[in-house]
């Protein structure tokens, strides 16, 4: 476990080497360093994980050096390994490694090949620091680092203006959340005089009672930060536009890791949130609202990656909903399974787009089942997991656990359950709409380039993980395997099921299974059997379709509320009020210059006269005083 420090350091070294020497290295050396550093990191994670699991201690701290020690704030560059962070670093390094291998082939023709791997490595390093940090200041460093790398990678193809716009939008919207989180950190420091996470967790129940206002405000501010990073309501507008970046970026950052940073934050500071039940209720409401908004928006998209983007927003809504009802380990379980299948979906979507020579529109795809078999089967497995098809997919076990606990948990209620069920139905529909439109039917765009081994292998591995990883946590009435939640028990409190609900667990599972299968069937009817039905529906409800397509009008709302007044104010201030002060100084200087330059006539006798006058003045002064 003493190798813990290597885990974030190896990708950092990779990024450093690639930044300095990347342009001079060969096309085979660059991915070797880029993917290799993350691969070594994954190996070290495995060793550390085995060591940690076999040891009996619930946590392990590693202090690298003392970073800040000023005015009572003492924070170190220190890593805290426990069950929660172990799961996260496992997902980050393994999924990251697979994505790096995929990128080795996907980005090989790009001029910015070394730059891409440098940014990806820097991102993995920042995310690992975020997750391993033992104090909130170091976590904030990782938080900002992933925000920076997200900006750099979304705007990777910076030659096109809209990519830069999308990158700036992502950065600015998450910045709003980051500012709220910073305020939360200030208040935490003010009340606890430390930002060490474990110390805060120990002190919080002693200093504050349940329902106190201070803790509520702190929790809401931290929630603001989480909402920004995880693209939940109301800060979700950046994620669909972030699809302007390359597909490996979408897979790594906007599916598996960065967007789950908010979930990690709330799980880490769960002690604060448990002291403020109102805040937890807000978390749940935000999660529920987001999953419905994003689900319906996904139903209307035609760009393959935008469907997946809205799907990510929706699935993280599920995680927030789980956190809100207190089902902490269920949320983390869903995070892990989601990371696998969503990364898989994004990577195979990227492979499809690349094979069809950058065609993003699903309605122009079709018939790819026979032409791209590996991608078809892996996409199908990922989509089944997303739709939570019963029993055979990992997604079923994680989503079913959330559905069950929103109904039967201590803080669960029927409304959350119904909303989550509706969301599951919509998820199933839009997922299989994606599958049918892309892979079935007539081939509308021909395949230019069949992807090779480096793209297919990560897809297959991720497909295996999406299916098999679900089996480590089986429901109460179905072999009752609780490997995952037992592993997390020292870190995250477990949730108890309310009285009298155990008997209806079978019924809830049947309903959930029925909902997801019926979604597949509905999509089948609308897109395979009778495609005219979907066109009719779209034209008869055109306004609603447009509303859902634009992401429920949030972009227009923010444009009206924030962008237009700001642009108006800057146009008024075009000559810059503050600058006028300095321009005024310049004008004054020039005025006096004009006056005094009159005395420089160049005539000799004028200057002698000046000397004489000065002499007379001095004599007068000398005589007077």
């Amino acid at each position: 476990m003493n190798l813990l420090w290597l885990i974030p350091t190896l990708p950092f070294i990779g990024a450093f080497v690639l930044v300095l020497f990347g342009s001079r290295l060969s096309k085979t050396m660059v991915p070797l360093i880029g993917a290799g550093s993350v691969g070594l990191s994954a190996l070290v994670t495995l060793l550390v994980g085995v060591d940690f699991i076999s040891s009996s201690s619930p946590s392990f701290d590693y202090v690298a050096w003392q970073w800040l020690d000023v005015a009572g704030l003492s924070s170190a560059f220190a890593f805290h390994l426990d069950a929660l962070s172990l799961i996260f670093i496992f997902v980050i390094t393994f999924v990251g490694f697979l994505i790096h291998i995929y990128s080795a082939e996907f980005m090989v023709d790009d001029d910015g090949y070394p730059r891409f791997f440098a940014y990806l490595n820097l991102f993995v390093c920042s995310m690992l620091i975020l997750v391993l940090a033992n104090n909130l200041v170091l976590m904030y460093l990782g938080w900002e680092g992933v925000g920076l790398c997200s900006y750099l990678l979304i705007g990777f193809w910076y030659g096109e203006e809209k990519n830069g716009y999308a990158a700036r939008k992502a950065f600015i919207v998450t910045r709003v959340g980051d500012t709220a989180m910073a305020f939360g950190l200030f208040m935490l420091f003010q009340n606890f005089h430390t930002l060490n996470i474990q110390e805060i967790a120990a002190k919080a129940p002693q200093l504050f009672s349940v329902g106190s206002d201070t803790v509520l405000i702190i929790a809401l501010l931290l929630l603001g930060g989480a909402v920004g990073k995880s693209a939940q309501l109301p800060l979700q507008t950046w994620l669909p536009d972030a699809m302007a970046g390359p597909s490996p970026v979408s897979a790594l950052i906007h599916a598996a890791t960065m967007v789950t940073a908010g979930v990690y934050l709330i799980a880490r500071t769960h002690v604060i949130f448990e002291l403020a039940p109102v805040a937890l209720m807000v978390v749940g409401i935000i999660g529920a609202a987001t999953l419905v908004v994003a689900g319906f928006a996904a139903l209307t998209q035609f760009d393959l990656k935008r469907v997946l983007a809205y799907s990510t927003i929706s699935q993280i809504g599920y995680m927030f909903l789980a956190l809100g009802v207190g089902a902490w380990s269920a949320a983390i379980f869903h995070f892990m399974i989601h990371a696998f299948f969503k990364a898989l979906l994004f990577l195979s979507a990227g492979a499809v787009i690349m094979a069809l020579h950058h065609e993003h529109d699903m309605f122009k795809m079709g018939g790819l089942k026979k032409k791209l078999p590996v991608i078809y089967w892996t996409f199908l497995i990922g989509a089944s997991s997303l739709a939570a098809l019963p029993l055979i997919t990992g997604g079923f076990y994680s989503k079913d656990q959330i559905l069950w606990l929103t109904l039967s948990g201590e803080n669960g209620n029927i409304w959350f359950f119904l909303v989550a069920l509706l969301g599951a139905f919509v998820t199933s529909i839009y997922t299989f709409r994606m599958v049918y439109l892309t892979f079935f039917g007539k081939e509308k765009t021909h395949v230019h380039h069949v992807p090779g081994k480096l793209i297919n292998t990560p897809l297959i591995i991720l497909a295996g993980l999406s299916t098999l990883a679900g089996f480590i946590e089986l429901p109460h009435n179905f072999f009752h395997l609780t490997v995952f939640s037992d592993f997390l028990k020292p870190v995250l409190p477990s949730i108890a099921v309310q009285e009298g609900f155990e008997s209806i667990e079978y019924m809830v599972q049947m309903i959930a299974a029925g909902v997801s299968v019926s979604g597949v069937y509905v999509a089948y009817i609308f897109y395979i059997v009778k495609p005219e039905l979907s066109d009719q529906l779209k034209s008869s409800a055109a306004d609603l379709h447009q509303f859902w397509f634009s992401g429920w009008g949030f972009d227009r709302l923010y444009n009206f509320l924030f962008v237009r007044p700001f642009v108006y104010l800057s146009s008024i201030n075009k000559s810059d009020v503050v600058d006028q002060l300095y321009a005024g100084l310049v004008a004054l200087a020039e005025f006096f210059h004009k006056i005094f330059s009159f005395t420089q006539s160049g005539v000799l006798r004028w200057y002698i006269m000046g000397i004489v006058i000065g002499g007379i003045l001095l004599l007068t002064l000398g005589l007077i005083s």
Binding site: Q600, S601, G602, V603, L604, R605, I608
Partner: protein, 102 residues
């Protein structure tokens, strides 16, 4: 013979100095300006002589010899400069050397 009052001597020196100064300011020809500067120098020398005779010290006379020597050196340099100005500007009008205007 009557003692010359020191005040009268200094008054003469002052008047001569003022005349020389006015001459420098009014004359446009550079050579005349130089001559007027000489008048100013001589006026200063007269002041020294008068003061030296009042206190019956030889210092006044010594200073006058210094001034004379300095005047000779200054005239030679001044005439060299005047030659240069005439060579550049083809005129002896001091107002023509106004390239520092503005």
């Amino acid at each position: 013979m009557n003692e010359i009052q020191i005040t009268q001597g200094l008054l003469l020196a002052g008047t001569l100095f003022m005349l020389g100064l006015i001459g420098v300011l009014i004359r446009r020809n550079i050579i005349f300006m130089l001559v007027c500067v000489e008048i100013m120098l001589n006026a200063a020398g007269l002041a020294f002589i008068v003061a030296g005779s009042k206190w019956a010290q030889p210092d006044g006379q010594v200073m006058f010899i210094f001034i004379l020597t300095m005047a000779a050196a200054e005239v030679s340099v001044g005439l060299a400069l005047i030659l240069q100005i005439h060579h550049q500007l083809k005129t002896l009008d001091s107002d023509a050397a106004s390239e520092m205007k503005g």
